[in-house]
């Protein structure tokens, strides 16, 4: 005990490097970029893009808690996102006045409904095999869409619900000009959502590094072994699913606040949301949390700017007929990009970089030992 073990030395050097490493500076730079977006690129399109990236990064991270850290594939994650969005829409759109109290109540309702439903689903289905869990969540997610569409009296049907945001979040709010831009309700909402997502992300980061998070990773790695150690794997998996789904619900609530409108297509659809989330987590890397940001940025930026490329192509090369034809089918280009990412980063961008770093580190340790 008197002599520090190599484990101690390793942690001490990690701690010393914590605020000096390139990773730390990179994270701070990204955060700073998002903080400055409304000032640097005040156009509606870029601010909306930045906001979508932030919200999807948090959503994908919460999905990663299930898939990457617990080894559970759920197709119902988009549904929890939608439930959160609808909860806020009910409280400050359809059934309540736009007040702060109702907004807070909406967030609490989003968390509570997500928690209860997630717990119920995991208690009922987790005892079956993993593949059945995926199928059952898919069925429930589809059922939610049908319900939201058909119960139009309750949910507004396909037309959805428009929200009225209270006080400082409302479009009419204006604090005056600062550094050349209007500090209006939209800018306030941007920062509120940015820091809410940041807080959610930090909570998730802490969750994965807690003793509970470590047990989840052990369960993902070898269920029988974890059970043989005396862990109640079923209970741990239920807790993880519930936590991930509550975060998804809260992100959905924030999403409703930003777009000011919810309908089944934009906030519940398995095809538009769930598929994006899956692609993002594959691109970014499973079991990394930070991968969500990379995946969200990649997908949202390509989806926003690839269609623009066709105009650019027409302007630059007005004669190249073949190029125009390709550019009009920009999804094709997206597919090629996606394949390239998967080929060069088989474990996702963050996962592959981390693996490379870990290999170098362990080689270094072996040399000194």
């Amino acid at each position: 005990m008197a002599e520090p073990t190599p484990v101690h030395l390793f942690h001490m050097s990690e701690k010393r490097r914590q605020f000096k490493s390139s990773g730390f500076f990179l994270k701070m730079a990204v955060l700073l970029l998002f903080i400055l977006v409304p000032f640097l690129f005040p156009s509606f399109k870029t601010v909306d893009l930045a906001m979508q990236i932030v919200m999807f990064a948090a959503l994908v991270a919460s999905f990663d808690i299930l898939l990457g850290y617990t080894g559970i594939l759920s197709f119902g994650h988009g549904m929890f996102f939608g439930i959160g969005a609808y909860c806020v829409a009910f409280l400050i759109g359809k059934y309540g006045s736009p007040s702060y109290g109702n907004l807070i109540l909406g967030f609490l309702l989003a968390a509570a409904v997500s928690a209860v439903l997630a717990l119920l689903i995991s208690l009922l289905t987790l005892r079956v095999k993993a593949i059945f869990f995926a199928m059952i969540t898919l069925a429930i997610a589809e059922l939610a869409i049908v319900l939201a569409t058909k119960l139009s009296g309750l949910t507004g049907g396909e037309d959805g619900i428009s929200l009225f945001t209270p006080g400082i979040f409302s479009p009419a709010f204006n604090l005056g000009e600062f550094m050349g831009i209007d500090i209006n309700g939209r800018v306030v909402t941007y920062y509120f959502i940015l820091f809410s997502c940041l807080a959610l992300f930090l909570i998730m980061l802490r969750f994965t590094k807690s003793p509970l998070g470590r047990v989840l990773q052990a369960i993902r790695d070898n269920v029988q072994r974890a059970e043989a150690l005396g862990y109640n794997t079923f209970l741990y998996q239920s807790i993880s699913i519930t936590f991930g789904c509550v975060v998804a619900g809260l992100v959905g609530a924030l999403y409703a606040l930003w777009v000011g409108y919810v309908n089944p297509e934009s906030s519940l659809s398995v095809m538009t949301i769930m598929l994006d989330v899956l692609l993002m987590v594959i691109i970014g890397g499973m079991g990394t949390l930070y991968g969500g940001l990379i995946g969200a940025a990649f997908l949202k930026i390509t989806q926003t700017y690839l269609p623009d490329l066709q105009h650019l192509a027409k302007d630059l090369f007005p004669q190249a007929e073949f190029l125009h034809n390709i550019m009009e089918r920009w999804l094709l280009l997206f597919g090629v990009l996606f394949i390239l990412v998967v080929i060069f980063f088989p474990k996702g961008v963050i996962g592959s970089i981390r693996e490379y770093g870990a290999r170098r580190k362990s080689r270094g340790l072996n040399k000194t030992a």
């Binding site: 484990v7 003793p211 047990v215 052990a218 993902r220 790695d221 072996n366």
Partner: protein, 259 residues
């Protein structure tokens, strides 16, 4: 065998029997394991060694007879419950967490023993005592220089060592080792034997071993039990076993395995 009967045994079986159809695989076996000894069970192939193991650790339910752990009847308890009561078992197939680091494999086991798995708000590194203990256990099994690598990067022999480390971390009342050197290369065997010797010399851990490599058993064990056709035909110190006529005829004589 005479002076040990005063000590309360860690594990005891009473007329333990299991029949598979008409075949009696384990036949009225009375076995005692005293605290902090290393006892080995040997016997020719098909003698019922692993079946006896499975009866004691709870994988099989006996047709007849009882199993006692620290004087308590555990015959009706499941394997998982027996694990919680302090029966740690290694299998012939290696069972580790492949993606986790070597240190984390052991740390998660200690965390289970300490029952802090449901803590979700503190950083796991704040429980630094756990890492220190995990590292100390890795030292005991001579894996301390590999603490930072993923367990899947270890050789087969090293993975068996890690498995022993995980079991030690649970601080079981009794450690069951089913052929700990099975499938190992010749170069790896001596290291595992040394680890077992060290654990035995520390006099803090009771161990029960199934093995059919005779040389290994003779020098390592405090006592040896010999099984033949499901029956216990001898039980005593290595010298006694070596001299025992019944054993020589059944096992050592007719083409003994000296791998």
């Amino acid at each position: 065998m005479s002076d040990t009967s005063a000590v309360e045994p860690v594990l005891e079986t009473e007329r333990l029997t299991i029949r598979f159809g008409g075949h009696v695989a384990v036949d009225h076996v009375n076995l005692r394991v005293e605290p902090f000894v290393l006892k080995s069970i040997i016997g020719p192939n098909g003698a019922g060694k692993t079946t006896l193991f499975n009866l004691m650790t709870g994988q099989y339910k006996p047709t007849e007879g009882k199993v006692f752990l620290m004087g308590e009847d555990i015959t009706s308890l499941s394997a998982v419950k027996r694990t919680r009561l302090g029966i740690g078992r290694s299998f012939q197939l290696t069972n580790i967490f492949p993606v986790l680091t070597v240190l984390e494999n052991v740390r998660v086991a200690i965390q289970s023993r300490e029952r802090i798995g449901f803590n979700f708000w503190r950083n796991y590194l704040h429980f630094s005592g756990l890492e220190d203990e995990a590292y100390a256990i890795l030292k005991r099994v001579m894996l301390d220089d590999k603490w930072a690598v993923p367990a899947s990067d270890l050789t087969h022999g090293e993975q068996r060592k890690l498995e022993i480390a995980i079991l030690l971390a649970l601080k079981p009342q009794i450690l069951f080792l089913d052929e700990p050197t099975a499938g190992m290369s010749q170069e790896e065997v001596p290291a595992v034997l040394e680890i077992l010797q060290r654990i035995k010399d520390a006099k803090t851990q009771t161990m029960l071993l199934v093995e059919h490599k005779m040389d290994m058993i003779m020098t390592l064990s405090d006592t040896i039990a010999v099984l033949q056709d499901g029956k216990l035909i001898a039980d005593g110190a290595p010298d006694e076993i070596h001299e025992n006529r019944a054993v020589r005829e059944a096992y050592l004589g007719g083409g003994a395995r000296r791998e």
